[in-house]
Symmetry: none
Subunit: 240 residues, 2 copies
C-alpha cells in the first residue's frame, strides 16, 4: 500500500518557496504536491530555479481552489501549525504523524499554510489532527520549506514500519464523504436556527465540524450516520 | 552539562545562507555559530535579513581561518556530508549523532561544508564521525540551511523537550455522558421508527452505539452534540 503523503500548500505566496518545498519533498522521496489558490497563479516562473532539479514535483503539481477540494480523496488530513491552537484536536509531533501515516490505511495529506500567517482556523478545522514542530519557545520561526523538510524527513525515517494487519479495520472515509455528513447536519440545523444569530454562526459551524471530523469515521460509519439523519428529517415511517 | 553543539560553517558562500542557518539553529535552541573563512568576509549584510530575527546568533558568531582552529576546543567533531565517503570513520544518522552529543561529556561541533561542494576530504579527516542525512538515492539535494535544521531538530528532540504541549486536548468524557448522548439519539429516533421493524432493532441500536462510542469525545464535544440534538427536536427558534 502507498503510504506516501500528499503535501498540500495552502495559499503559498512566493513561487520560490513552492520550489524549495518541492526540493525538500523529493529529498525524502515525496513527489505529490497540491497547491490551493497560490497567490501568484500557477505555473510560477520562480518555482523552477528554487526546486534545484525537483522539476518533476512541480510539473505534476495539481492546483485547487479550496483546501476542501484538495484533500477530498484523503482519509487522513494533518494540519501543520507552529503555534498551539485552542482546539480539541490531537496534537502530534512530526515523528508521531509520520508513524501514523506509515501505519494507517488510506491516503494522507500534510497541509501547510501561507508563509506569513500559517493556516487559518477554517483550514485547521478540516483536519483530523494537528502537527506541531516543537520549536524554541523563545524563537519559533520555521520557514515553509523547513517545515516541509522536517515532516518529509520524519516520514522517510519511519520507513520500514509495518502496516498492522487491518482487514477488519477500515480506513477513515475520504474527506468528501465527511463533507457530505457535515453538510447534511448543517442542512437539518439551518431551518431550526441553530446557526442563528449570525454572530454565532461561524463559531457554531466550526465547532460542529471539529466534533464530526475528529472521529475519523469510516465509510460504513458515515453511511450509518447519514441514515440516522435521514430518519430524523422524515415523517415517521408508516408501519404497514 | 552543556550539550549544545557548536555549528561550524566551513567556507560558506552566501550571506543569505549563513542567515538562514542561524534562523534554523535558533528554532531549536542552538545559538553558537562559528564561521571558517566565509567567502565574502564577515559581517555580511545579506545575513541579517535572512536570519528573520535570529540576530543574536549572527552577532555572537566567531570567525576562524581554518577548521582546525574553529574546533580546537571541541571534544567531538562531526562532519556532515550528503554522500557517503570512502573513509574509515563511523557514519551516523542525525538522530544517532544527536544522541551521542547529548550523552557525551565535552563540547561537540557539527561541521557543514560550502553550499556547492560540501566538505573537502581534509575537513572530513578532522572529524571523529561522519553524519549523513539519509536522502532519496535518486535526488539528494539538501541545501545548507536544511541540513542544519535537520541536525538541530534532532538535537532538540533528543532532549526530550520535543513533546508538544497538548494540555488543551481533553480526555474522553465519562461514560455516563456518552450514555446520555446515545439515549438522546435513541429518543429522537424511536418515534421516527428508526428501530423498526423489531427484528432490526437490536442491530441498529448496536451499530449506532458503536459509531458514537468510537470517537472518545470529550465533555465539550458531547455537550455540542447534545445541543445539536436539542435543536433538531425543537420547533424553529423564534427570532425576536
Amino acid at each position: 500500500m502507498d503510504s506516501h503523503p500528499v503535501i498540500v500548500l495552502v495559499r503559498p505566496q512566493l513561487g520560490e518557496n513552492i520550489g524549495k518545498a518541492a526540493r525538500a519533498m523529493l529529498n525524502f522521496g515525496l513527489a505529490e504536491m497540491r497547491l490551493v489558490a497560490p497567490r501568484d497563479g500557477w505555473p510560477n516562473p520562480s518555482a523552477g530555479p528554487a526546486a534545484a532539479g525537483a522539476d518533476e514535483v512541480l510539473e505534476k503539481a495539481q492546483v485547487f481552489d479550496t483546501l476542501t477540494e484538495a484533500v477530498a480523496d484523503c482519509a487522513h488530513v494533518y494540519a501543520t501549525t507552529v503555534r498551539k491552537r485552542g482546539m480539541t484536536k490531537p496534537v502530534l509531533t512530526p515523528e508521531q504523524a509520520a508513524r501514523d501515516i506509515r501505519t494507517s490505511p488510506g491516503r494522507s495529506a500534510l497541509v501547510f499554510g501561507p508563509e506569513r500567517s500559517g493556516l487559518d482556523t477554517g483550514d485547521v478545522a478540516l483536519a483530523r489532527a494537528i502537527v506541531t514542530v516543537p520549536v524554541n519557545p523563545h524563537f519559533g520561526s520555521l520557514n515553509l520549506a523547513q517545515a516541509v523538510v522536517l515532516c518529509a524527513y520524519e516520514w522517510s525515517k519511519a520507513a520500514g514500519l509495518a502496516l498492522p494487519d487491518s482487514e477488519d479495520h477500515l480506513p477513515p472515509a475520504p474527506q468528501d464523504e465527511l463533507e457530505g455528513l457535515i453538510g447534511h447536519f448543517e442542512a437539518l440545523l439551518e431551518p431550526k436556527n441553530y446557526f442563528w444569530p449570525e454572530i454565532r454562526a461561524e463559531v457554531n459551524r466550526r465547532t460542529l465540524r471539529n466534533v464530526l471530523t475528529r472521529p475519523g469515521w469510516n465509510h460504513l460509519e458515515i453511511r450509518t450516520l447519514r441514515g440516522v439523519l435521514s430518519f430524523l428529517e422524515k415523517e415517521p415511517r408508516k408501519r404497514n
